[in-house]
Amino acid sequence: MEIATLLSVGVSNGCLYGLVGLGLVLVYNAQGIPNFAHGELFMASAFAAYTANILFGLSYALSMLVAIVFAFALGVVVEFLAIRPIAMNRSLGRASTEVAIVLSTVGLMIAIKGLARIPWGDSVRKLPAAFSTETISVGGLVLSTQRLLIIVVAFVLTIAISLFFSKTSLGKKMRATSQNTAGAMLVGINTGHIYSATWGLAAICGGVAGILAAPLIFLYPDMGTRMLLKGFAAACLGGFGSVGGVFVGGLVMGIVEIFFGRYLATSMMDIFAPIIIIVVLLFRPQGLFGSRSAVRV
């Protein structure tokens, strides 16, 4: 029973990590950079949901929708204002362009956080859960409805994104662009638009995680930093590769972390993500499942 409980919580945490990691991977595959502002997209979306739900009194579902649209828009705007001007600057070499973009995401990370503090910095806020019954009991196993929602939404979203990449034309264009930018231009793809769309979609992944997590945790401007690390760890485990790989990476991360905490030392839970990042990147950069050749080291 205890193991089942741990598993259910680990899986739902892992789903959140996977979603955050997925957003990181999308941007990484498109532009070759880790997005340090990703945690802030997570935070901003949670606050967008809060605003819609509490301040404008919209229903949870509707607030979620508003927040997703907001996340997408934020991703696109951020790409347009802070990333594209650098990516388009041909006078820098490839390496310095990447460094400049990373620094720009670092700048975004603190700027967005600072921006969020103006309306939200004075106290900790809470978003009510999607369902009024907080827990249900299945054969003695007590499950939180919000956690079930997280698992369901994360699974659905991961599958939807996989389908999006394999079935829709925009998805195919995004894959094409991340695999071969020159090739993408040669089939008439406007790669600039694709980068915008990638950032938008990445923001949605982070945003959905933020919205789902919001009722479980409390909302405050610094809530994104911790998620960023966990998302990085999930992405590393997944090898910065496929959508499914990252999702599984997140699950592994969530499950191992909680069992580690329960049976070894709870104090290790804080440090688990950075250890995973270091160990995986140094000793198995292709992740748990990837093949060596697919790695962009």
Binding site: A82, L92, S96, S104, P274, L281
Partner: protein, 334 residues
């Protein structure tokens, strides 16, 4: 006269600061000290980021190692500050090596993530290894004693900090003008050309890590002098980001850059004490605006405009004014 000022701007800056120390109050003196400490750390970051082109995201952690090692040596073993400070630098350099050796296997942006993970682990150790670091309670740092005189206030520590900053600046200049400094730039601009000219890339990268960490370690030790008390929060991600801002705003791959960056980023928040709410946003936007519009930083801008002389990368050329605006005249000659 003006040319002499321009080409000796750093020595003049030190002289100016020295002079100011006779007229300032404790508040200004403290900020000058802090600024000089940040100059040392930013120089270290600049060596690895600006000159060697490696994205190390761990200078807060290296500072922490320096600060704690020197504080513990002084508090627990009664070691003189004169010994503790270089020891702090060496300890940081050693850790820098040990993270640098495996980390050179991953390039560019993976390195950023590995080093960021490393900083988190250092933070965790500082918080949890209580018998040694006292955890979040922090440790207070004794004032250094030289020949029986305790240097406790900012006016007294200023002389140590100024001297160390000057020495470290001279050392940075020496490095930049030596084969090692040129090797840094070579691996930044073209690894294959570097290798083909006989430069051992792996060893150069590890050295860059070690030297950079050494600067951060010494900086951390000096930092503990300005604070008299250190705790893990002093060396968190925010500290690392501050250092990045200083290097980028001041000018990466320029010796003067860290001075400009540290000056601005130490004084600006103080001047804007009344507009506190916007400080974080300000830092963030400053970083973005600089990477987009002034990628070479203020020092790069001043050099490109011919206001400051180009910095030399060799010790044999003295007083040669190589101004970048020469591009205009007859570069198409063949």
């Amino acid at each position: 006269m003006l040319a002499a000022v321009r080409s000796n701007i750093l020595p003049l800056f030190f002289v100016l600061l020295f002079g100011l120390s006779f007229t300032t109050d404790a508040y200004a003196q403290y900020l000058i000290n802090l600024m000089l400490v940040y100059v040392v750390v930013a120089q270290g970051l600049n060596l690895i980021l600006g000159f060697a082109g490696m994205f190390a995201f761990a200078h807060g952690a290296f500072m922490a190692i320096g600060a704690y090692v020197s504080a513990l040596l002084m508090n627990k073993f009664g070691v003189s500050y004169l010994v503790a400070m270089p020891a702090a630098g060496l300890a940081a350099a050693l850790v820098g090596c040990s993270i640098g050796i495996p980390a050179i296997r991953v390039s560019g942006l993976y390195l950023a993530m590995v080093t960021m993970g490393f900083s988190e682990i250092v933070q965790w150790i500082l918080r949890n290894w209580k018998p040694v670091t006292s955890g979040t309670d922090g440790i207070s740092v004794a004032s250094p004693v030289f020949f029986g005189v305790e240097l406790s206030d900012d006016f007294q520590t200023f002389y140590i900090i100024l001297a160390v900053c000057a020495v470290m600046t001279a050392l940075a200049q020496f490095i930049i003008r030596s084969r090692l400094g040129r090797a840094f730039v070579a691996i930044r601009d073209s690894e294959i050309a570097a290798q083909s000219s006989g430069i051992n890339v792996a060893r150069t990268k590890v050295l860059a890590f070690a030297i950079s960490a050494f600067y951060a370690g010494v900086g951390g030790s000096l930092f503990s002098l300005t604070q008299h008390y250190i705790n893990p929060d002093n060396f968190n991600l925010y500290q690392t980001i501050m250092q990045f801002c200083m290097v980028i705003v001041g000018g990466a791959s320029s010796l003067i850059g860290p001075f400009i960056g540290a000056t601005i980023l130490t004084w600006l928040p103080e001047l804007l004490r009344n507009a506190q709410a916007f400080q974080e946003i300000g830092f963030g936007l400053l970083l973005i605006v600089f990477v987009i519009f002034v990628p070479k930083g203020l020092a790069g801008l001043l050099i490109d405009k011919g206001i400051l002389p180009r910095e030399e990368y060799s010790s044999r050329v003295r007083g040669k004014w190589v101004v970048r605006k020469e591009r205009a005249e007859g570069s198409e000659r063949t």
